[in-house]
Amino acid sequence: MSILIDENNKVVVQGITGGYAQRQTRLMLDYGTKVVAGVSPGKGGQMANGVPVFDTVQEAVAATGANTGVLYVPAVAAMEAAIESIEAGLKVLMIATERIPLQDSMKIKWLARDAGAWVVGPNSPGVISPGKCLLGSAVPSVVTPGPVGVISRSGTLLMEIVRYLSKGGCGQSTCIGIGGDTVIGRNPVDYLRLFDGDPETKAVVLLGEIGGLKEYEAAEFIRHMKKPVIAFIVGRFVPLGRRMGHVGAIVRGDRDTAESKRRALREAGAFVADTPWEIVELTRKVLD
């Protein structure tokens, strides 16, 4: 088992004719993901990477039975594209686009919620269930199948930590880049809930950052979780009140700090790591 995605996801790529999207589509196809359609308005009838291109998501769904979306549309047009996918009935939508205006992200989140769709991102590097399905570019060459669920706000951190976990013999059930923005489709707590109910997942690694308060919501849930959680929060030495690369990492007040989050997670019963390699040690310990 895994969460969110497995062999049964049929993927439509929005914005498939862009250069970046084409490279990512190639990567997904190489991994074995069932990419069945692409969408690019005005380019319906063409092929991209051997995948048929449609003008609208609705047409793509009707023709191919796609149930999952990956979105590479530029920020200015991303909300329109996301609404289109949600209204076409896609159940999982991974939004890779960076720098989507915050008010657009809030609308996407609530529209998806009302429609019962699961939005990963915006600003997500992707999702992977090792050996089954890859959305985006999240870490295909460093994963190994296994019992650890991984949740990360950041792409590079996800890639490095998963690599360390694999090297240390801790394979993964599903690895998720949940998105680095202030407002995202689903919060860490939503993924923790899925992992807690997934029979294959035995432990969860939660990678967080300074900024925002989502880790507190997660900590409340961790208190009642059946499975152990290993948490790692970066940005302990980032000065207050400065803007980092992720909008969500703006530090406002004490509760935004890495130290405060580490304390809350520790009190909730999570194992809190100080260094990337300590994550692996702690994970091995809870798996034994």
């Binding site: 970046y20 490279r23 990512q24 990567l27 920020a75 200015v76 960076e98 720098r99 989507i100 205006p101 915050l102 008010q103 992200s105 809030m106 989140k109 609530w110 529209l111 009302d114 590097p125 570019s137 870490v139 295909p140 060459s141 460093v142 706000r153 950041s154 792409g155 590079t156 951190l157 996800l158 890639m159 490095e160 690599r163 680095g180 202030t182 407002v183 995202i184 919060n187 990678l207 950052e209 300074i210 925002g212 989502k214 919501e217 970066v234 940005g235 030495f237 980032v238 000065p239 400065r242 980092m244 690369g245 992720h246 909008v247 969500g248 990492a249 007040g253 890495a258 260094t275 990337p276």
Partner: protein, 393 residues
């Protein structure tokens, strides 16, 4: 982007709120003229992008021409934490029966706009809000339909307002929300929101922060940015070139991509007993020019700052082609040689190594004199052994 008070007040006014009469004054004569117009007494308020002006004495009441002269001169020369005063706002003094607080910001957990209001406005509102939670009313707004009138009334009722005060307050909150929504703000804060003895609400201050990612669709706000002053030059330059650079006092400069791992790297630098000298981040998929510009900014910092003992680099890439990163680094380090040792690690996977293998990338970096390790831990161990003992050049 943070707006100045006077810019924020213009937005509030156009959304129907009452703001004090007045305007910017560029000289002592203009200040004196404003004072005559405003009835012989007024406020002079330094315009800065950061908070804390009141406590720093940069908001002053003046009552005589001599006062006006002195205060104007003092404010025009003032700085706050290195930021120079950009302009001076002259305003009428507004009588207040009560000072309230009203703001709209973003709730990152719920993913909604959040109205925050209190009967106890003023300079310590945050502290007082924490000590007595009932003094603060909050309301999560459904972003799909915006704030409705009855919801603004509920916020006012939570604060114990009644009658005309209640309806007047609700109108003010609706106006603040309108500014938030129309301008893609991430914060619109009015503190204090004055209640006059006549029962009117007046926005005596305005803190407005616009979502940078939404600026492309607000050309009129983008123009306001050109009025920015006092920001760190290297940081401003970075923002214009598509990457983030934050200057810090430290002994190890950091050259890295990806905000998440860069923060982890900075934490590791501290873990090893050093201090990071900067933060930097380039967007995924960046081309060689962005990498070169970012590297150049870091080299410039490392060369100019005697406190910097080494540059620690780390690149973990899968989506961005490796040659973009390597060629960018080669360009920057050829163009501006770095006087400090450069140590670090690079890993590339998948699509990143289509046109350049990792081995070739590493060879190129070693050609620049970089010490390249397979793992960042090895690079940190090396730094701990050599740099700490002062054995570097």
């Amino acid at each position: 982007m943070r707006l100045f008070e006077y810019q924020g007040k213009d937005l509030l006014k156009s959304a129907g709120l009452t703001v004090p009469k007045g305007g910017l004054v560029a000289s002592r004569d203009e200040a004196l003229e404003a004072m005559r117009r405003l009835g012989g007494a007024m406020m002079l308020k330094a315009q800065l992008r950061q908070g804390g002006r009141g406590k720093a004495g940069l908001i002053q009441a003046v009552e005589s021409p001599r006062d006006c002269d002195d205060v104007f001169r003092r404010l025009s020369e003032a700085t706050l934490d290195g930021e120079r005063v950009a302009a001076i706002l002259a305003e009428e003094r507004v009588q207040a029966a009560e000072e309230l607080y009203a703001a709209v910001t973003v709730d990152d957990v719920a993913g909604t706009p959040l109205v925050v209001a209190s009967r106890q406005g003023g300079t310590d509102v945050e502290d007082r809000g924490r000590s007595s939670a009932e003094a603060v009313a909050t309301f999560n707004v459904n972003p799909l339909r915006g704030l409705r009138q009855h919801e603004a009334l509920v916020v006012g009722k939570k604060l114990g307002l009644t009658g005309q005060q209640l309806t007047g307050f609700a109108r003010a909150v609706l106006g603040i929300y309108k500014v938030f929504e129309r301008n893609d703000a991430i914060l619109v804060e009015v503190n204090p929101l004055l209640l006059t003895p006549q029962g009117d609400f007046v926005a005596a201050d305005a803190k407005v922060e616009i979502d940078d990612d939404a600026l492309p669709r607000h050309p009129h706000l983008l123009e306001l940015r050109s009025q920015a002053v006092g920001a760190n030059e290297a940081e401003e330059r970075a923002a214009g070139k598509g990457f983030t650079f934050i200057d810090l006092p430290g002994d190890v400069a950091v050259l890295s991509g990806g905000a998440g791992f860069t923060m982890a790297l900075m934490d590791l630098v501290e873990h090893y007993g050093f201090k990071p000298a900067n933060f930097c981040d380039a967007m995924g998929g960046s081309g060689p020019d962005v990498v070169a510009d970012l590297a150049d900014t870091v080299i410039e910092k490392a060369n100019a700052d005697a406190g910097v003992k080494a540059v620690l680099f780390n690149f973990v890439i899968s989506g961005t082609p490796l040659e973009s990163v390597v060629n960018g680094l080669v360009k920057a380090f050829r163009n501006r040689p770095c006087s400090k040792p450069v140590v670090g690690s690079v890993r590339a996977f998948d699509a990143a190594v289509k046109n350049m293998s990792l081995e070739e990338g590493i060879r190129n970096l070693e050609g620049l004199g970089f010490k390249v390790y397979p793992e960042i831990k090895d690079a940190l161990d090396y730094l701990a052994e050599t740099v700490k003992d002062g054995r570097t050049r």
